[in-house]
C-alpha cells in the first residue's frame, strides 16, 4: 500500500473526517480542538506538496473513485494547474488557521469555537474537492459544500454579517443553480459528465445552440461565485463583516478557486478556439472584466472601512484574472495564473493585517490607523510589503503578474484594457500610500487609547510569512512559470 498514490483523494477526505472528529473532540477534550485543526491542515499542506511533486515528475494524476472506470465513475484528475491551486489553497488555509487562534477569540464565543473549526475544515474540503475533481457534477457538489460552509462562516461574524450572509446565500444559490443548469444542458447534449470525456465529445457539437446555452449558464454562474463586477454585490458586505480569519481565508481562496473553475470550463471543457474564435464570449469577458477592474478600483477609493476597501480591490483583482485568461495569448494566461498565487498571498496578508489592527484597536476605519507604526512596527512593515505588491512595485510578486498581464494585453492589442490595468495600479497606489502616510507620518492625538504592543505571536507569524512569501515568490516567478504554469497552458497558446 502506497499512500502517496492516494494523495489526491486523501486531501479531500482528511479534512472531511477531521471536521467531524473535531466535534467528538469538542465533547472529549476541548483544548485539543485547535491543535488538531492546525495539524490536519498541516497534513494537507504536506499532501498538496506531494501532489505537486508527483505531477511535476510523472505528469497528470488520475484517480478512479471506487474503482469505477472513467466516464461512468467519478474521476479525480490532477494536472499542473490543479496541483498549483491545491498548494495555494492548502498553504493559505494552513497559514490562516494558525492566525485564527487568537484572532477569533474576540469575535466568536468560546463554546462555538470547535464548530468554527469544523466549518472551516469543511470549507477547505469543498475547495480541495473543486480543485481535484474531474467531473462537472461532482464539482457542483463541492462548490456547494464550500459555499454552504462559507455562508455559515460569514454569518458568525459581527452583527451585520448575518444580513450579508443572507445576501450571499441568495446570490450564491443563483450562481450554483445556473452552474447546475449548465451541467444539465451539457448532459442533455452529450450524456456525459466527465471532463476529459466531454473534451472529446464536445468539439463536434460546437454548432449546437445547446452548447452555447450551457456555456453561457456556466459563465454567469461562476461569474456570480467569483463576484465579477456587476454580480459582486454579495462580496463587500460578506468579507467586511465576517470574522477576520474568515475574510482572510475566503478572500485568498474561494474566489481563486472560482477562477480555476472558469479556466477549466473555458479551456479544458471547451477548446480555447471555441471561446476565442467561434463565439464572441471571450471578447465580451475581456470588456466585462475591464469594466470590473475600473469600477472595482474606483469604488475602492471612496471607502473608509479598511476591509471594505480591500473587498473592492479584490473585485478589481478578480477582473485582472478574468481578463488575463480571456486575452487568448500565452502572456495573458501566465499572468492570470501567476496572479492567482500572488493575489491570494497579498489579499490574504492584507486581510490578516486588517484583522490584526481590529484585534488591537477595535476599529477598521482607515482614519484610526494614525501612528500605528509606533505600536506595531513588524505588522506595519508587512503591510508595506503587501501594499507595494498590490501597487505592483518590483521586486514584489505583484509586479510580475501585472507585467505579464500588461504585456499580454499589449500583444493582443487591447490597449484600453492595458491602460485600465495601469490605472488600477495607480488607484492602488493612491489608496495604500494614503494609509501608509497615516501609519508612518501621522501622530495619533489620543495616545492613551493606543497603549498596546505588537500582535500576539500566533497572529504575527502568519502575517510575516505571507509578507516574506510575497517578496521571495516574486523573485522565483520565472521558476514557477517554467516548472508549473507552462504545462498548464491551454492548447494552441
Amino acid at each position: 500500500m502506497n499512500l502517496s498514490e492516494h494523495s489526491s483523494i486523501l486531501i479531500v477526505v482528511i479534512p472531511l473526517i477531521a471536521s467531524f472528529v473535531n466535534i467528538f473532540l469538542n465533547f472529549l477534550q476541548r483544548k485539543l480542538c485547535y491543535p488538531f485543526f492546525v495539524l490536519v491542515l498541516g497534513i494537507c499542506v504536506a499532501l498538496s506538496i506531494d501532489i505537486l511533486c508527483q505531477v511535476i515528475n510523472f505528469g497528470v494524476l488520475r484517480y478512479r473513485l471506487g474503482g469505477w472506470m472513467a466516464p461512468w465513475g467519478i474521476e479525480y484528475v490532477i494536472d499542473h494547474l490543479n496541483a498549483y491551486l491545491i498548494v495555494i489553497v492548502s498553504s493559505m488555509s494552513f497559514i490562516v488557521a494558525i492566525y485564527s487562534k487568537d484572532s477569533v477569540k474576540k469575535e466568536i464565543s468560546k463554546a462555538k469555537l470547535p464548530y468554527f473549526y469544523s466549518t472551516y475544515l469543511l470549507l477547505a474540503t469543498g475547495l480541495f474537492g473543486i480543485t481535484v475533481t474531474g467531473d462537472i457534477f461532482n464539482l457542483y457538489v463541492f462548490l456547494e459544500i464550500a459555499s454552504l460552509s462559507a455562508y455559515a462562516l460569514v454569518a458568525i461574524g459581527e452583527k451585520r454579517s448575518v444580513l450579508a450572509s443572507f445576501h450571499y446565500i441568495i446570490m450564491g444559490t443563483i450562481g450554483a443553480c445556473f452552474y447546475l443548469l449548465g451541467v444539465g444542458y451539457i448532459y442533455i447534449i452529450t450524456g456525459s459528465l466527465n471532463i476529459s470525456d466531454l473534451t472529446r465529445l464536445l468539439p463536434s457539437l460546437y454548432e449546437s445552440k445547446v452548447t452555447l446555452t450551457a456555456l453561457a449558464f456556466f459563465i454567469v454562474g461562476i461569474g456570480i461565485k467569483i463576484a465579477l463586477f456587476p454580480l459582486h454585490r454579495w462580496l463587500p458586505d460578506s468579507y467586511t463583516f465576517a470574522p477576520s480569519a474568515v475574510s482572510a481565508f475566503a478572500s485568498a481562496t474561494v474566489t481563486k478557486v472560482g477562477i480555476y473553475v472558469l479556466i477549466r470550463i473555458s479551456f479544458t471543457l471547451f477548446e480555447p478556439k471555441f471561446l476565442i474564435e467561434m463565439t464572441p464570449l471571450s471578447n465580451i469577458l475581456i470588456w466585462w472584466s475591464t469594466i470590473a477592474i475600473f469600477f472595482g478600483s474606483l469604488i475602492a477609493i471612496g471607502q473608509k472601512d479598511f476591509k471594505r476597501t480591500l473587498s473592492y480591490i479584490l473585485i478589481a483583482e478578480i477582473g485582472y484574472m478574468v481578463f488575463g485568461i480571456n486575452i487568448g495569448n500565452k502572456e495573458g494566461f501566465i499572468g492570470a495564473v501567476l496572479h492567482i498565487l500572488n493575489d491570494s498571498l497579498m489579499i490574504g496578508c492584507l486581510f490578516m493585517i486588517a484583522g490584526g489592527v481590529f484585534y488591537r484597536i477595535g476599529s477598521r476605519n482607515i482614519e484610526d490607523f494614525n501612528g500605528l507604526n509606533r505600536n506595531m512596527p513588524i505588522t506595519m512593515a508587512a503591510f508595506t510589503i503587501a501594499a507595494l505588491s498590490m501597487i505592483g512595485i518590483p521586486p514584489t510578486a505583484g509586479f510580475f503578474s501585472k507585467w505579464y498581464l500588461i504585456v499580454g494585453a499589449v500583444k493582443a492589442g487591447y490597449l484600453v484594457s492595458a491602460v485600465i490595468l495601469i490605472f488600477s495600479s495607480l488607484v492602488n497606489a493612491l489608496i495604500f500610500f494614503r494609509i501608509l502616510e497615516k501609519i508612518y507620518f501621522t501622530k495619533n492625538e489620543n495616545t492613551p487609547m493606543y497603549n498596546f504592543r505588537e500582535l500576539p505571536i500566533s497572529m504575527m507569524i502568519p502575517i510575516v510569512i505571507t509578507a516574506l512569501a510575497i517578496l521571495i515568490i516574486g523573485l522565483y516567478s520565472g521558476e514557477i512559470i517554467s516548472s508549473v504554469i507552462k504545462f498548464s497552458l491551454p492548447k494552441g497558446f
Binding site: 518590483p394 521586486p395 500588461i406 504585456v407 497606489a429 502616510e437 507620518f441 523573485l475
Partner: protein
C-alpha cells in the same frame, strides 16, 4: 568589447544596504557608532566603485547576472564607462554628505535621525543599482526603490506641509513611473523582445514609427526624476526635506538617476540612428530648451533659497538632457561633464544654504542681508558654486557649457546656442543678487556682528566641494579621459 565577470557591482550595492541594516539595529542610543557605520559604508562603497576603474579604462565591461526572474525579466548588472562615471560621482559625494549630514542633523537636533540615515543609505544603494543596470527592467526596479526610499526622507519633518509635499512627490514620481515608464517598458519588450541596453539601440527601424514615437514620449514622460517640464513640480516640493537630502539626493543622486536613465534610453534603447530617422531628438531638444528657460524664469521669482536652487536644478538638469538630444559626440561630452560639474556646484550651493539654516535659521533670500560678513567661508563657497552654475571660466560649469555649444554647432542646431546664452544670463540674474546682498548689504539685525561660522562638520564639506569645483576645472583630464571613453562606447567610434 571585453567582458569580465565580477561580483563587485553587487558588493557596491550591498555595502550601503548592509549599513542601512546596521544603522537600524544600532539606533539612537549609540549615535556615534551609527554615524560610523554610515561613514564607513560610504568610504567602502567609493573604494569598491573606484576599484572597477582600471578595468573600465582598459575598455572592459564588468558584468554580473544577479538573478534570472523570468526569461526576460533579469536582474543583471553591466558596468560600462557611463555607469561607472555616474556611480563614482554619487558615491564620492556620499562621503562628503555623510559628514555634512552628521553636522546638520545634530546641529538642528532633528528627530528620528536613525530613520533618516537608514533611508539615505538605501537610496544610495538603489542609485548604484540604476548606474550598474544592464537592462531597463533592473533600472526600473531600482528607480522605484529610490522613489519609495526617498519618500520618508521628504516627509521627514512630519508636519502637515511636509506630508503634503511628500504626497505630491510620491504622486508625481510613482504615478508617472507606473503609468508611463512601465508602459514604455512593456512596449519596448513587445517591440523588440528584450529589455537590454545595447550599443546603438535595442529597437530596430522596421517597427511602425508611430509606436516608436509613443514609446519614446512615454519614456520621457515616465522618467520624471529628470524633472523635465511640465512634470517637474515634485522637485520644488521635495525641498521640505532636510538640506543634506536636497543636496545629495535632489541635486545629485535622484535627479541624476533620471537624467542617466534618459541617456540610457536615448543612446542604448533607441540609438542615435533611429532617433534621427524619426526626428525625435528635436522634440526632446525643444522640451529641454523650454525647461531650461522656463525654470530659470521661475527661479527668479523665488524668495526661498532652497526653492530657487531647486528651480535652478530643474533648469540645469535639462542641460544634460539637451546635450543628449543633440546626438553629437561633443554635446554628449558636455552633457556628461555637466553631470559632475552640476553635482559639485549644486551640492556646494545646497550645503551653503543648509549651513545658513543651521546657524541662523534663515531660509529666505530677503533675510540674507550681510550674511557674507558673518559667514565668509560659507558665502565664498556659495559664490564659487553660483559662478560655476553660471558658467564662468575658472569653474567646472564652463567646460560643460563649452562642449555643449560645440555640440550644438556640430549638429546644426543654432537655436540651442541662443538658449544657452539666454540661460546663462538668467542664471546670473538669479544667483548674483544673492551674492550681492550677502556681501554688500548691511545686516538688518545688529545682534550678530562678528564672524559666526557654521559647525565644523557642516563647514568643511561645503568648502571642500567648492574647492573641488575649482579643481575639476583646473585638471579635468582624468574626467575627460573617461568621458571620451564613454563617447567612444556610445557612438562606437
Amino acid at each position: 568589447m571585453e567582458t569580465s565577470i565580477s561580483i563587485k557591482p553587487v558588493l557596491a550595492i550591498a555595502v550601503s544596504a548592509v549599513s542601512a541594516f546596521l544603522i537600524a539595529i544600532t539606533g539612537e542610543k549609540l549615535r556615534n557608532l551609527r554615524e560610523t557605520w554610515s561613514i564607513l559604508a560610504s568610504i567602502f562603497k567609493f573604494l569598491i566603485v573606484v576599484s572597477m576603474l582600471p578595468d573600465i579604462l582598459c575598455g572592459k565591461v564588468i558584468e554580473y547576472c544577479l538573478f534570472r526572474i523570468t526569461s526576460e525579466l533579469i536582474l543583471h548588472f553591466r558596468i560600462d564607462a557611463l555607469g561607472l562615471f555616474f556611480a563614482m560621482t554619487a558615491s564620492f559625494l556620499w562621503i562628503i554628505t555623510s559628514f555634512y549630514s552628521i553636522g546638520y542633523m545634530r546641529g538642528l537636533n532633528e528627530h528620528k535621525q536613525t530613520r533618516y540615515f537608514v533611508y539615505f543609505a538605501i537610496t544610495l544603494s538603489a542609485t548604484m543599482g540604476v548606474a550598474f543596470s544592464a537592462n531597463i527592467f533592473t533600472a526600473f526596479v531600482f528607480y522605484e526603490i529610490i522613489t519609495i526610499a526617498t519618500y520618508p526622507l521628504v516627509a521627514h519633518k512630519e508636519t502637515e506641509e511636509a506630508k503634503k509635499n511628500a504626497r505630491k512627490y510620491l504622486a508625481y514620481l510613482l504615478s508617472t513611473s507606473v503609468a508611463f515608464q512601465l508602459t514604455a517598458i512593456v512596449l519596448t519588450y513587445c517591440l523588440s523582445g528584450n529589455l537590454y541596453f545595447s550599443k546603438g539601440g535595442n529597437l530596430s527601424n522596421d517597427i511602425s514609427s508611430s509606436l516608436l514615437t509613443i514609446t519614446f514620449l512615454l519614456y520621457i514622460a515616465g522618467i520624471t526624476k529628470a524633472a523635465i517640464m511640465p512634470l517637474h513640480s515634485w522637485l520644488p516640493a521635495a525641498m521640505v526635506a532636510p538640506t543634506p537630502v536636497s543636496a545629495l539626493l535632489h541635486a545629485v543622486a535622484v535627479v541624476k538617476t533620471g537624467v542617466f536613465m534618459i541617456l540610457r534610453v536615448v543612446f542604448y534603447i533607441f540609438g542615435v540612428d533611429l532617433l534621427k530617422s524619426l526626428n525625435l531628438e528635436t522634440v526632446l531638444a525643444v522640451v529641454a530648451s523650454f525647461t531650461i528657460v522656463a525654470a530659470s524664469v521661475i527661479a527668479l521669482r523665488q524668495d526661498n533659497l532652497k526653492l530657487r536652487l531647486a528651480y535652478s536644478t530643474v533648469s540645469q538638469l535639462s542641460y544634460i538632457v539637451l546635450g543628449a538630444a543633440l546626438l553629437s559626440p561633443s554635446a554628449l561630452k558636455g552633457s556628461i561633464f555637466h553631470i559632475i560639474a552640476h553635482a559639485f556646484g549644486k551640492i556646494t550651493l545646497f550645503f551653503a544654504a543648509g549651513a545658513i539654516y543651521v546657524t541662523t535659521y534663515k531660509t529666505k533670500i530677503s533675510e540674507l542681508d550681510g550674511i557674507g560678513k558673518r559667514m565668509p567661508l560659507i558665502m565664498a563657497s556659495f559664490t564659487i558654486g553660483a559662478l560655476s552654475m553660471i558658467g564662468v571660466p575658472p569653474f567646472a560649469g564652463f567646460i560643460s557649457k563649452w562642449y555643449l555649444s560645440v555640440g550644438a554647432i556640430e549638429s546644426d542646431k543654432i537655436f540651442v546656442l541662443a538658449i544657452l546664452a539666454i540661460s546663462t544670463i538668467l542664471n546670473a540674474c538669479y544667483f548674483m543678487p544673492i551674492v550681492y546682498v550677502a556681501f554688500m548689504k548691511k545686516s538688518k539685525d545688529s545682534k550678530y556682528n562678528g564672524i559666526n561660522e557654521a559647525p565644523i562638520f557642516v563647514l568643511i564639506p561645503t568648502v571642500l566641494t567648492a574647492v573641488l569645483t575649482l579643481v575639476v576645472f583646473l585638471c579635468p583630464h582624468p574626467f575627460i579621459k573617461l568621458i571620451i571613453l564613454i563617447v567612444n562606447q556610445t557612438f562606437g567610434g
